[in-house]
């Protein structure tokens, strides 16, 4: 039976990890993720969960301990943010390369310098190519739901990849929201004990992390790509089973009002919530706008996004991370690249916003929608890359 709780995004993630009965948590505190591991350590202290909680001296060690644990067949969870995620960078590739289905809550935060603890996507985008599946959430409910689903997806033998569940720093990590949580027995039914792909057996020893040079490295990377290609099928299956259990419908891409829209905002995470509210208001004025929010950013939902954008004339892509010197932000770059070879090609322009936690307001989003409608009307993009919300 579902029950309603007041939880922050961080607490929702910790609660989901508890109900997932993780065997090992190795983590290091960092704002704005700290509440996740604090809450989890309380569960351990109170005996609510029988996980091995490893207090490590750095995020590099945290991920190293997670990898070792995961390779023994354990279900492993951790959380990090910003500088911590950057310090883990080396180990992120090892976790995915060794095909460890670790789940990590990432509280998205700006990267130094200047030092800043507030929300943007620079941290995850900085580790974008680490080979992990990456999910972005709009609210605490989605964070809770995706953590539960992430274990199922990651541990599937056709996938065996780690997953980050991303929530915007402070906006989601620290804001108290209404979250529907499911009963422990329901979660148990959905999420059984992990079945490792390689059994740890002293009579049948294996070597992990051996040298792999010019003759096998490339093949190993091609296998990794195959796991990314298999993931959508598994994600769809898990989404469907999750819906049967909870009534909550997930997928690769969430949309709002795009059926008859001419222009849309495409963004990740919590900004989609504000954008939907603004789109609703503009709808009531007869303006044809919509919102597209990829839940899953890696593997990139190419087919679903092409479908979602096929009737549009203009897309404003919102990047909450900045790639210095690049033609545009990472998300817009991906969108432009899938549209390029597509026959029906709406005009797309990039909006870099919200760096270091700068608010994106309904009036900002309204102006972006108006600009997108103008592009839809004229077919011309005046400014392919713009910065919204920064003082001149």
């Amino acid at each position: 039976m579902a029950q309603v709780m007041g939880l922050t995004g961080d607490e929702a993630i910790a609660y989901a990890a508890k109900q997932s009965k993780v065997d090992v948590v190795a983590a290091y505190p960092i704002t704005p993720q700290t509440i996740i591991v604090e809450a989890f350590s309380e569960y351990v202290h109170n005996g609510e969960v029988h996980s091995e909680f490893v207090c490590v001296e750095s995020e590099h060690s945290a991920m190293s301990a997670c990898i070792g644990s995961s390779l023994t067949g354990a279900r492993v969870f951790t959380a990090s943010s910003s500088q911590g995620l950057a310090l883990m960078h080396e180990m992120l590739y090892i976790a995915s390369g060794l095909r460890c289905p670790i789940i990590m809550g990432v509280a998205n935060r700006a990267l130094s310098a200047p030092i800043n603890i507030h929300g943007d996507h620079s941290d995850m985008m900085g580790s974008r190519d680490c080979g992990w599946i990456q999910v972005y959430c709009e609210n605490a409910q989605e964070a809770y739901d995706w953590v539960l689903q992430a274990f199922r997806i990651a541990e599937d033998h056709d996938v065996l990849l780690p997953i980050t569940v991303n929530i915007d720093g402070f906006i989601l990590t620290h804001a108290l929201e209404r979250v529907e949580v499911y009963g422990d027995s329901d979660v148990d039914k959905f999420l059984s004990v992990r079945k490792p792909s390689v059994e740890i057996n002293p009579d049948k020893p294996v070597t992990v992390g051996a040298l792999c040079f010019t003759d096998y490295y490339f093949e190993t990377k091609r296998q990794h790509e195959e796991a990314m290609r298999q993931a959508p099928k598994v994600i769809a299956k898990v989404n469907k089973e999750f819906e049967a259990l909870t009534g909550k419908k997930y997928g690769y891409v969430d949309t709002y009002g795009i059926e008859d829209a001419e222009a849309a905002i495409l963004c990740l995470g919590s900004t989609a919530g504000t954008a939907k509210a603004v789109a609703k208001e503009l709808h009531s004025q007869g303006k044809k706008v919509g919102v597209i929010k990829p839940w899953v950013y890696r593997p990139f939902p190419t087919a679903q996004l092409l479908k979602a954008t096929e009737k549009l004339k203009a897309i404003a892509v919102l990047d909450r991370a900045y790639s210095p010197g690049a033609p545009c932000g990472a998300l817009c770059s991906d969108i432009q690249s899938i549209l390029f070879e597509n026959g029906k090609r709406p005009r797309a322009f990039d909006v870099v916003y919200g760096l270091g936690g700068r608010d994106i307001t309904p009036s900002d989003l309204k102006a972006i929608f108006e600009e997108a409608l103008e592009v839809a009307k004229t077919g011309t993009v005046k400014e392919p890359l713009r910065f919204v919300g920064v003082r001149e």
Binding site: G97, L160, V208
Partner: protein, 95 residues
């Protein structure tokens, strides 16, 4: 150098894991070689200096002369450099 075809990505164990212990011996590092040592067995005085100096233990002792184990010789040329009677010459590998 081994010319046998190596398995592709569809058949190798995932994540570079090795399912059998002690498999390093099967890793024929000889195909890294750019220069190949050739022993002139008529000139070889069997002093075994090359056998001592070889960093990869890729010199095999025979009764009257030495032989190179091409499965593991990486072609560093130390043997040719140390040979006091110039019985070992290095020639470029042709692939």
């Amino acid at each position: 150098m081994s010319k046998t075809a190596k398995p592709g990505w569809k058949t190798i164990p995932i994540g570079g894991i090795l399912l059998e212990p002690g498999s390093a011996v099967k890793y024929k590092t000889g195909d890294w070689r750019a220069f190949k040592p050739n022993v002139d067995q008529g000139k070889c005085i069997n002093c075994l200096l090359c056998w001592i100096y070889c960093p990869d233990a890729a010199i095999n002792r025979k009764e009257k002369f030495v032989e190179v184990n091409y499965d593991y010789c990486k072609g560093c040329g130390i043997c040719a450099n140390e040979c006091p009677v110039k019985a070992i010459t290095m020639t470029e590998e042709k692939r």
